[in-house]
Amino acid sequence: MNGDDRIHLSYQVEGGDLTRAGEASSGVKQTLRKLGIDPGTIRRVSVCMYEGEINMVIHANGGLAMVDVGLDDITITLTDYGPGIPDIDKAMQAGWSTAADSVRDLGFGAGMGLPNMKKYSDEMKIKSIVGVGTTVTMVVKIPS
């Protein structure tokens, strides 16, 4: 990889099936390991991506996860065509969730997903249009 080259990974995330959630994140983790990325950065990317994956499975019937690996940073872009987020500020509040009881029974839906994604990324942007879908972009910087 030289300064201009970036590695692009993309994964289709299936909706509805929480038992399969994490497959894309695990795939990214394995690839980052092979690339020799440090364990701390891999962990931050894994948490960000897994939380995003769970959100897409629970709320949006799946979507597309793209990961762009450079020398200085890793950018994760999650795109779905779900219901959208009417109030992003509210969704960002720790503990706020619209997840169904069936999801909560599995240990998810505690309203910590987006706050975790913000905590473990260096930059995070959410673009959402109700009825159209949501795109979440997160950047994790690689320590030099």
Partner: protein, 109 residues
Amino acid sequence: MIVRQLADELDLTVFAMDDPDRETAGGYCGDLLSWVMGRAVAGGAWLTIMSNVNVAAVAALADVACVILTEGVQPDPALLDKARLQGVNLLGTAMPTYACAGKLHGLIG
């Protein structure tokens, strides 16, 4: 302390132990998976009563050294399969979470 020693010291049931030499220090107790993702320390032990398949994904991605199912909880078959597949150290004990955490704290801080 490595995971194998920890399992011996606390007389833990071994459900899966693909990485017995993993060093472990510190820990986290919790059943809400996103709390665990946000708070668990890398290389620590994670104590939980959750036994569904997602536990393996959380353990692998949060990079904990081992999962200890407390209170006599048995792993779902899907969790057992996934733990073996993903190389997650999955242990168990009949001890209550509080008692297990107390003993762990004495061993690995």
